[in-house]
């Protein structure tokens, strides 16, 4: 998995690519932790366009980050560019009502 973060005026964008599984999910969690704990930013877009695979270990990271971001209404985690097979897995897990989805990063960033 590759992950990198870019900081915008209103939010931060985390771009992940490749596999998010039990091996790599901690790296994704760490990327989010740096944004929330070190930069105090809770408005985050996760660009999933390059994600090829995500297991429940990755889904756990998404839920944990969403809980952190939504606390005291200080922000939220938005998902952008989610590939269809991954959207289907999120749907199976009952995650659709818990996140906002945007087709691309630009519209997701613009929504904040």
């Amino acid at each position: 998995m590759e992950v990198h973060t870019t900081h915008h005026k209103r939010c931060s964008v985390v771009s992940a690519a490749g596999r998010v599984d039990s091996q790599t999910a901690p790296e994704l969690a760490q990327a989010f932790k740096e944004i929330t704990e070190e930069n105090d930013v809770y408005k985050i877009v996760l660009d999933m366009a390059g994600v090829e695979f995500i297991s429940s270990a990755g889904l756990r990271v998404l839920i944990d980050v969403q809980k952190t971001c939504r606390r005291w209404n200080r922000g939220e985690l938005i998902l952008a560019g989610v590939p269809k097979v991954i959207y289907d897995a999120l749907d199976l897990a009952g995650f659709i009502p818990l996140f906002k989805f945007f087709d691309d990063v630009t519209s997701a960033v613009g929504s904040f």
Binding site: R19, D21, S22, Q23, F53, S55, S56, A57, L59, R60, I63, Q66, K67, R70, K84, V85, D88, A89, L92, A93, G94, L98
Partner: protein, 151 residues
């Protein structure tokens, strides 16, 4: 006896032993993807099998072995006319699926827990999931994904 039939049959079953650590998951995924393609699955079904097997292997490492590098995962893929059968063997502690709580898929964000989601995925994504344990063989998990009939 027809040699070509015999060869064809031997091409569609393979066993690979992977070290029981999370680093193996990517390689296991590639192994499964190759057989899913050979079975003629579309990308959605191929992804479903990969996800189910990934969750199963994570459970083996975390729960049967109780951590990484404590034993191997023996993975066998077999393509048949019916579809793809994946068998996973480990020598860890007996796994009792009945002890895994079902995930609450309607819970609010605050109450949402992701535990049990792996087993739920396995059962929803595969057509047949069977757990077996004997003291000689250890855990034997068999999962079958059937191929959709040609229209």
């Amino acid at each position: 006896m027809d040699d070509s039939d015999e060869k064809k049959k031997s091409d569609t079953i393979q066993t690979v032993v992977f070290p029981g650590r999370f680093e193996s998951l990517e390689e296991i995924g590639e192994f499964i993807a190759r057989f899913a393609q050979e079975a003629g699955f579309d990308p959605n079904d191929a992804y479903a099998v990969q996800l189910a097997v990934d969750e199963a292997c994570t459970n083996i490492i975390q729960y049967a072995y109780g951590g990484e590098d404590r034993g191997d995962i023996v993975c066998t893929c077999e393509v048949s006319d019916e579809g793809l059968e994946v068998e996973l063997r480990d020598k860890g502690a007996p796994f009792d699926p009945d002890k895994v709580p079902s995930p609450n898929l309607d819970a609010s964000l605050e109450e949402r827990k992701v535990g049990g989601l792996g087993l739920y995925f396995m059962r929803r994504l595969m057509d047949n999931v069977c757990f077996d344990f004997t003291s000689d063989e250890g855990n034997v998990l068999t999962m079958v994904k059937r191929k959709e009939k040609e229209p």
